[in-house]
């Protein structure tokens, strides 16, 4: 409708004139909205950084297409009864389970059986207490990204023969081989000598746990050292790009077949998806957001009130002008549109200023602190939409007042 477009264009040009004429007042309204938008966008930006940082760290340790098959997964998340039931009912993953799964991956899934033990380790040069030792196979390198700072991971051949070789995390290297090359040196794990063949790149922390405090050894060597494991944990990766469901279904079907489970009978094992591993940070971020968003919304409400007030004053001050325009033929829609446009402009200008400041601060912080801080497009869009909505809404009451004003009375106003 051309007339509607014309009306909008006219409203905006009039509103721009008013905003320019009453600079200080409009600026204060915009400042209020800017503060509110900064609160909104600031929180979202902070939380998004937290999440993306966690996702990135998690993806480096456990890829998004990785899942695990184990006797009982996610112990910490189960209720007390559920956990007790599963502990009682579920059956340990044995070596033969592992072999069966491996033999029936069919190009859909690839598995790496693993077992873990926490022990003290030492070298001639230093020692470290309570280090998780993981026994696994070469296949783990196809499941999990193993970025090595030096050396190499153990080969398929070495893992099958169970050679006493170890790949260590950065924290282990620093503690056991301070100021020297670790490659080729001997690491003592539970009294047995392992030759260090690789050192992982430093990865930092995830959820308060250091990711550099791991030792990887061939599963066969692990079992020779600690005896056969009570239950294995199968790390598995979907070979279908981007989809874990068919792979998980295949894993479930294989193990059910191996264990002769009837249709309808419950699984006697757990298949745990990768989300669970990352969910700690997401839960944290969600609860932080739940706690802080209402506070930010309150500031948006306050800004809404302030903009309503500026617009209201604007209408009051221009009573006579509005009356004259009505008298010479301006329609109600013209006047209403103009008032709405004014509060909209004030809010959006404020929002843009606030967002620019957030983006600037984020850029500053990221260059100073080395954090991946940036104003996400989604946050930007959401904040703009919220601010414009608040702007239009705050124009509503003043617009109604302007429209309802009696033309003759308005003309008498000074």
């Amino acid at each position: 409708m051309p007339s509607a477009r014309l009306l909008i264009a006219e409203s905006f040009s009039q509103a721009f004139r008013v905003v320019r004429e009453y600079r200080l007042r409009s600026a204060l309204g915009a400042l209020a909205m800017a503060a509110a938008v900064m609160a909104l966008a600031g929180i979202s930006t902070g939380l998004e950084v937290l999440e993306s940082f966690a996702a990135r760290t998690a993806a480096r340790t456990i890829g998004s297409d990785v899942f695990t098959v184990s006797k009982v997964g996610q112990r910490g998340r189960l209720g007390r009864r559920e956990l007790a039931r599963k502990l009682e009912r579920n059956v340990a993953i044995s070596r033969s389970d592992a072999r069966f799964l491996d033999a029936h991956g069919d190009g859909l899934v690839i598995y790496a059986p693993s077992a873990q033990r926490i022990v003290d380790i030492s070298s001639v040069f230093g020692k470290l207490q309570s280090v998780p030792i993981t026994g696994t196979t070469f296949a783990i390198t196809r499941i999990q990204e193993m970025a090595l700072a030096e050396g190499r991971f153990f080969s398929d051949d070495e893992s099958q023969r169970g050679e006493a070789v170890a790949v260590i995390g950065e924290e282990i290297r620093a503690a056991c081989f301070p100021n020297r090359r670790a490659l080729g040196e001997t690491l003592r794990i539970a009294g047995r000598a392992f030759r260090v063949i690789g050192v992982q790149e430093a990865m930092g922390q995830l959820g308060g746990q250091s990711q550099d405090r791991y030792v990887w050894v061939p599963l066969a060597a692990f079992e020779r050292t600690f005896g056969p494991s009570a239950s294995l944990q199968m790390f598995a990766k979907s070979l279908v790009a981007g989809e874990t469901v068919p792979a998980e279904d295949r894993a479930r079907a294989s193990l059910r077949a191996k264990r002769n489970l009837y249709p309808g009978q419950e699984d006697t094992f757990d298949v745990v998806t990768p989300d669970a591993a990352r969910s700690f940070v997401f839960t944290l971020s969600r609860s932080l957001s739940a706690a802080s968003m209402p506070i930010a919304i309150m500031s948006l409400l306050a800004a809404f009130v302030v903009v309503t007030n500026t617009t209201l004053v604007s209408v009051a001050q221009r009573t006579r002008e509005i009356g004259i325009r009505r008298a010479v033929g301006a329609r109600r829609a013209n006047i209403g549109g103009e008032v709405l446009a004014e509060s909209f402009i004030v809010s959006v200008v404020g929002a843009i200023a606030g967002l620019a400041l957030v983006a600037l601060l984020a850029a500053l912080a990221s260059s100073l602190l080395g954090l991946p801080l940036a104003l996400a497009p989604a946050t930007l869009a959401r904040s703009l939409v919220m601010a414009s909505a608040a702007g239009l809404l705050s124009g509503a009451f003043p617009a109604v007042r302007a429209i309802r004003a009696d033309v003759l009375t308005s003309l008498r106003a000074d």
Partner: protein
């Protein structure tokens, strides 16, 4: 004629009372505008007062929770975690304390009055979930511990009903239990609990005592109230999985430091630590735990209050805006007053008072709304105590006035610097 200095010394002199009247007139004359300016401050104050209240109440509760462990006590445990959390990788291989350590500490340290001990039963025992039941009622959020009778004295947990274990019951491992207030409330609602049977993980016990509710808690929940205590020998016989031991040493008055050194030395010897190796246990006092909590809490609190302060800031902008408009509209009136002899200072005061009245009214209303919301929230969600303490309420009103005066300062100065001659020319 009064001397100007005398007028300045009074809080509200005659001129100020007049200015106050002007302020009220001006506020009433511009109904909608004033209401909205006040609303802005109300929103800001409600946010700030409510947030401060929730934080302050949570802090008080947490402090009370840990003081409930006995303010003079030193608590020894082999992990830095609390007894119901799994150990971190680093501490996974630490040996638990032994029950016997308590007696050794009591015998060897002259700075310790009495030593209590608790044996923690894990949530899954003998392959079963730790579920307590009485008749058909079940409770799966309870905890079970073995306790020496003297432990109740050491941790200052008074009985509400019944009695604690007798030496004979302790010696023979009798199947008797002392239950916490929440356990009693959930399993024996409205009936007498003492003498009744309670089943814990399938084993029957006789309830011989009920503990009084413990003070404090994290959001109103004190885990100690969910504990079922039994004699240590009983736990050792029935739940062999229970291995984690907490030792509470009640220190003699003013001897906390000496007692700490004694206990540390004794525990290092008992745990066979070499002189150069670090402690493989944690020795903490409630004060220390509270300090750690406060550190975290204060950081979170500062961030949250700052966030809430944004609303108040926006409210202040609203006041500033209204004042700017008010000054602009009344330029002529200011000119007349100046021409009739009003000083710059009195004009400034007049507008500051107007800003103060606006924001003060906003502050009082805001505190009232915050009180109402606080009581309502506490009524609906008793775990989140949001009732503003009186000091937070007073601070809210004071803060709003200060904020209003700051916001009104620039407009008031503008008013004061109005040139009377030019102002009178205006229409």
């Amino acid at each position: 004629m009064r001397a100007p200095h005398k007028r300045r010394s009074a809080f509200l002199g005659a001129t100020d009372r007049m200015a106050f009247g002007f302020a009220v007139d001006s506020i009433l004359a511009n109904g909608a505008r004033s209401v909205l300016a006040i609303a802005g401050i109300v929103i800001g104050i409600v946010t700030v007062v409510l947030i401060t209240s929730v934080l302050a109440n949570a802090k008080t509760q947490v402090a009370a929770l840990f003081q409930g462990l006995g303010t003079d006590n030193l608590i020894a445990y082999h992990l830095s975690q609390d007894p119901y959390s799994p150990p971190t990788d680093r501490e996974a291989n630490r040996k638990p304390m032994e029950i016997g350590f308590a007696d050794v500490i009591e015998r060897l340290s002259l700075n310790v009055e009495e030593v209590g001990v608790q044996l923690i039963v894990p949530a899954i025992v003998n392959g079963r979930a730790l579920i307590a039941s009485a008749g058909r009622i079940e409770n799966d959020s309870c905890f079970a511990e073995g306790s020496a009778a003297r432990t109740f004295r050491v941790i200052e947990a008074p009985l509400a009903e019944g009695r604690v274990f007798t030496p004979l019951e302790e010696e023979t491992g009798a199947r008797v239990a002392v239950i916490g207030a929440s356990v009693r409330a959930s399993l024996f609602p409205g009936i007498n609990a003492v003498g009744k049977e309670i089943r814990v993980a399938g084993v029957a016990f006789v309830v011989i005592g009920v503990l009084a509710p413990r003070p404090g808690g994290v959001f109103g929940e004190n885990r100690q109230d969910s504990v079922i205590s039994m004699p240590i020998r009983t736990v050792q016989a029935i739940f062999p999985d229970a291995r984690n031991v907490l030792i509470y040493s009640k220190t003699k008055e003013g001897r906390r430091q000496e007692a700490r050194q004694d206990i540390e030395t004794i525990l290092r010897r008992l745990r066979g630590l070499a002189p150069d190796s670090p402690n493989d246990f944690q020795l903490t006092s409630p004060d220390q735990i509270i300090a750690v909590f406060n550190q975290v809490g204060n950081a979170i609190g500062a961030a949250t209050v700052a966030l809430a302060g944004i609303s108040l800031f926006i409210g202040a902008i609203g006041i500033g805006n209204v004042m700017v408009i008010s000054v602009t509209e009344r330029t002529r009136e200011i000119g007349i007053r100046r021409a009739l002899g009003a000083t710059q200072a009195s004009v400034r005061r007049q507008f500051l008072i107007e800003a103060g009245v606006l924001s003060g009214v906003g502050g009082i209303l805001g505190v009232l709304v915050a009180l109402a919301i606080g009581f309502l929230v506490t009524l609906i969600l008793p775990r989140y105590d949001a009732r503003p303490p009186w000091d937070a309420a007073l601070a809210g009103v004071a803060m709003s006035v200060v904020v209003g005066l700051i916001a009104g300062y620039v407009p008031a100065s503008r008013a004061a610097s109005v040139d009377p001659i030019e102002a009178l020319h205006r229409d």
